[in-house]
Amino acid sequence: MQLSREELLSAYTRMRTIREFEERLNVEFQKGTVPGFIHLYSGQEGIAVGICEHLDEDRDYIGSTHRGHGHCIAKGVDVKGMMAEIYAKSTGVCGGKGGSMHIADLDKGMLGANAIVGGAPPLALGAALTAKTLKTGGVSVPFIGDGAANQGTVAEAMNMACVLNLPMVFMFENNGYAEFTAASYATAGSIEARAKAYGMPGTTVAGDDFFAVHEAAREAIDRARNGGGPSVIEATAYRFHGHFSGDPQVYRSAEELKSVREDHDVLNNFRDRVTEAALLDQQELDAIDAEVLTLMDEAVAEAMAAPDPMPEDLFTDVYNTYQ
């Protein structure tokens, strides 16, 4: 289905925002201004955006992973609030208490990045049960890596989604590596084929092709929203960086890394496609790129200037009080 000009611009802006957010974080992490572990999503932007362009902010939910920045941005979480969170500042979306691996924004339907591999699918299942119970029409999508695909929670969630006929799309991102171990070693058979074993539809798409993801997502999300139950999408994904920022990637060849960036860059593919078809032109895309870079400059500067959490916030937010 042909996307409108507005849809194309929106998708490109989101994908470019994710790319520049991650690339800027990579630079800042190497400089030592960002603490902790940073797992970068560069290369996989088409998957998060291809899904989330179909989702509503208020009634649809996503569950995420340790590699969650892209999912957050695609679902509409404020970029400056995210940057401030990663910088552990009081202005962060979680007040500096969560960090890179725990960014959550319930108002945007973002249930939380989750640092437990395989943690999110059952939680997303619960959001789907809530949507079904309250008849909101909402759909819930957990993003799942090829490593998490082998966790029991994912098998449990796939089975229960079918047993309870929940409005779900299991979005597997197979970037070929579970942390530092190749999927060819650690993941038996086919992830997509596991869907069929549970009796739900499954499909595999190229994750470097935004349009392929977007079309598969449309079908799966429409099906879920209309009571047709859960399904699986497996996207072949291309992780530009290591497991985390600073990973020397001794387990990947130089040729592979070169090919990933040169042959499978979803942003380049998108630009080629829309400009060749004369849907958008280079100048307007360049203008978006420039705006996004400015946004990142602002986000980093504001995050660095923002205050730390107050010591008196240490013991808040543990328990909810009675209303």
């Binding site: 699918p121 959001a127 047993v163 309870l164 937010d317 209303q323």
Partner: protein
């Protein structure tokens, strides 16, 4: 929100009192700790302190009024920025709520009831006119769930065998018939999965009750109980909350071996973000499960298989008990026996035996393990100067270890003997009857420990 000041219970038996004199007038500003009134009972006159700061909005009960029931509102405090108009609006809401409560029970409607906000009163005192029904713990738990599901359409029950089979231990009997399969949901044998599912449902706005067939199987699910349910509120800076109850039988049953005979109270009680309840009596099981369901936090509710069939008197009136309050089941002067869940019964039996030997034991039922009723524990130790702390779980890093440390830190100067711990033997539960008996807490163990701390042979 304005704050209601209630007629305090100044002793465990007090039912009414006299507001002898107000020490403040309407419009006065008070701070926590300020004396605001003199309250008289038949035994004593005591001064009532403000526990919050605010402006005295209304003195509901005039000075000199006699026979004011415990827990009746006697005054209303306004917080900053509130005015009397807001107070009146609230008062009218309160009045209509009260009227609804007093109305006879309506037949169950086809449409689900609307969600309601939680508000848990102080420990109620049941007057001399209260009527009681003898119920098993099993029935009391079922009644608690049914009452809360009638009250709040967002509450649902999920677990293995809870619907069609009516519960592996028959706790959910009748619930499927009354509430239907959308609110009483059978799951596959998938503890980790449905613990996560329920937590996600709580994040998104429902109020799940998760039944684990036993807490032994919840070890499969402990990642979601702790990493998701307990921690997410903090990690999200207060955005994401999990109003959820994880319940099921916990602790040793009988002759079922090591993988079905473990107490997890200490495990869960260690986790900030969780509340942990482990009742003994049916009345407490009912009132505390209702409180747990209304609590906007994740609550681990530990039941006991061997107590399910025990009968206790349960008040017929509608009541909810406060989480975090211990209960003195037997007053005594020589030694405090502090426990929770099944071994409260063991401690009561031990107290009977000790009485025959001239030792007066006070028996404290903790009821809630997190948050612990620290004050009740300190008070009883200050009274008896000796403590035996009892649990079925392992002592190492267990609840009794915590109690012992707490008493040492907070009541050291009142102790006449070291605190004695009585706990499950430090082994996986054996299967053979004779070994199992040696591994579990017996009445004789508590009697011996009590004599030890009293330096009696």
């Amino acid at each position: 929100m304005s704050i209601s000041i209630l007629m305090p219970a100044l002793s465990p038996t007090m039912e009414v009192g006299t507001v002898a004199k107000w020490l403040v007038k309407e419009g006065d500003t008070v701070r926590a700790g300020d004396l605001i009134a003199e309250i008289e009972t038949d035994k004593a006159t005591m001064e009532l302190e403000a526990v919050d700061e605010g402006t005295v909005g209304r003195l509901v009960v005039e000075g000199g009024t006699e026979n004011v029931p415990v827990n009746q509102v006697i005054a209303i405090l306004l917080e900053d920025g509130e005015d009397a108009a807001a107070l009146m609006a609230e008062a009218s809401v309160e009045a209509s709520t009260t009227a609804e409560t007093a109305a006879p029970a309506a037949p169950v409607e086809a449409t689900a009831p609307q969600p309601v906000a939680a508000s848990i009163p102080d420990d109620p005192e049941f007057g001399p006119d209260a009527t009681y029904t003898e119920l098993t713990v099993r029935e009391a738990l079922r009644d608690a769930m049914a009452e809360e599901m009638r009250r709040d359409g967002d509450v649902f029950l999920m677990g293995e065998e809870v619907a069609q089979y009516q519960g592996a231990y028959k706790v959910s009997q009748g619930l499927l018939d009354e509430f239907g399969p959308k609110r009483v949901i059978d799951t596959p044998i998938t503890e980790h999965g449905f613990a996560g599912l329920s937590t996600g449902a709580a994040f998104a706005g429902l109020k799940p009750i998760v039944e684990f067939m036993t807490f032994n199987f919840a070890m499969q699910a402990i990642d979601h109980i702790i990493n998701s349910a307990a921690k997410t509120r903090y990690m999200s800076g207060g955005q994401v909350t999990a109003p959820i109850v994880f319940r099921g039988p916990n602790g040793p049953a009988a002759r079922v071996g090591a993988q079905h005979s473990q107490c997890y109270a200490g495990w869960y009680a260690q986790v900030p973000g969780l509340k942990v309840i482990a009742p003994y009596s049916a009345a407490d099981a009912k009132g505390l499960l209702k409180a747990a369901i209304r609590d906007p936090n994740p609550v681990v509710f530990l039941e006991h298989e061997l107590l399910y069939g025990h009968k206790f008197d349960v008040p017929e009136e509608d009541y909810v008990l406060p989480i975090g309050k211990a209960k003195t089941l037997r007053e005594g002067t020589d030694v405090s026996l502090i426990s929770f869940a099944y071994t409260v019964g063991t401690a009561l039996e031990a107290a009977d035996q000790l009485a025959q030997e001239g030792i007066s034991a006070e028996v404290i039922d903790l009821r809630t393990i997190r948050p612990l009723d620290t004050q009740a524990i300190i008070d009883t130790v200050k009274k008896t100067n000796r403590a035996v702390v009892v649990e079925q779980g392992w002592a190492t890093c267990g609840v009794t270890a915590e109690l012992s440390a707490l008493i040492m830190e907070e009541a050291f100067d009142w102790l006449d003997a070291p605190v004695k711990r009585i706990a499950g033997a430090d082994i996986p539960m054996p299967y053979a009857a004779n070994l199992e008996q040696l591994a579990t807490v017996q009445v004789a163990d508590i009697v011996r420990a009590a004599k030890d701390v009293c330096y009696r042979e």
